[in-house]
């Protein structure tokens, strides 16, 4: 299994800070999630970190067994 990690308000939306998912292409993983959560995760301001490293390019993400993919919304000000 792979793990999705939701930060900030995304954790509220997901109902939990983490979620186990089946490995595979990110598009397939998102398709299996509730639609409103999938839409929020795809927001262009949400950054991704795979196994602790920020994704910088737009290359496709494919989750392998044991991977951890974090969804990082914009950080808070003030």
């Amino acid at each position: 299994m792979a793990k999705l990690v939701f930060l900030g308000r995304l954790a509220d939306l997901a109902g939990a800070p983490e979620r186990e998912v089946a490995p595979g292409p990110l598009a397939d993983v998102l398709a299996a999630l509730p639609r409103d959560l999938a839409v929020a995760l795809l927001d262009e301001r949400v950054r991704l970190a795979l196994n602790g490293t920020l994704k910088t390019g737009g290359e496709a993400v494919v989750l392998s067994d044991g991977d951890e993919l974090a969804f990082l919304p914009p950080v808070s000000g003030g």
Binding site: L7, G8, R9, A49, N51, A70, L72, V75, S76, G77
Partner: protein
């Protein structure tokens, strides 16, 4: 001990860290310290800071190294709380030790500006029993532009 960066998940007394940090740099000229506290008023009952361990601490360490490279410092300490805090509790403490005063001031100012905007922290406030996430705000970008 040129860099001392920590995430703290319990209330802390800044003086208990600043004292040893200062003493670790004998011969310094001065230390500039900023301590930010959870603001009271406005009906705020609590503040919660969440972080993402694989990124947050390395990000703070990278900021400390940038400050050390940019200003003429003997050392810099960055402490940041996580978890649930009450009004009046320290949330952040940045201390810069330098031979010359100006470098100490500027490094602490620089680190605070970048901590607020560049760090991987997500905040929510509790008012009337309801938690609300805090969004990014414009002032931070203005603060950062000072260093470009």
């Amino acid at each position: 001990m040129a860099i001392d960066v920590r995430l703290l998940d319990q209330p802390f007394n800044p003086g208990a860290f600043v004292g040893p940090f200062t003493h670790a740099h004998p011969g310094l000229g001065g230390v500039c310290t900023f301590v930010g506290e959870v603001r009271g008023g406005d009906g705020i009952e609590a503040l919660e800071l969440s972080h993402y361990a694989p990124l947050t601490l390395p990000g703070m360490e990278a900021l400390a190294r940038r400050a050390l490279a940019r200003f003429d410092l003997m050392g810099i300490m960055i402490l940041h709380r996580t978890g649930i805090m009450l009004p009046g509790e320290p949330i952040v403490c940045v201390s810069s030790a330098a031979t010359h005063r100006r470098a100490a001031f500027e490094a602490t100012d620089f680190a605070m500006d970048h901590l607020k905007s560049d760090s991987w922290f997500w905040k929510r406030e509790k008012r009337g029993g309801v938690w609300t996430w805090i969004e990014p705000r414009g002032q931070d970008h203005a603060d950062l532009a000072r260093w470009d």
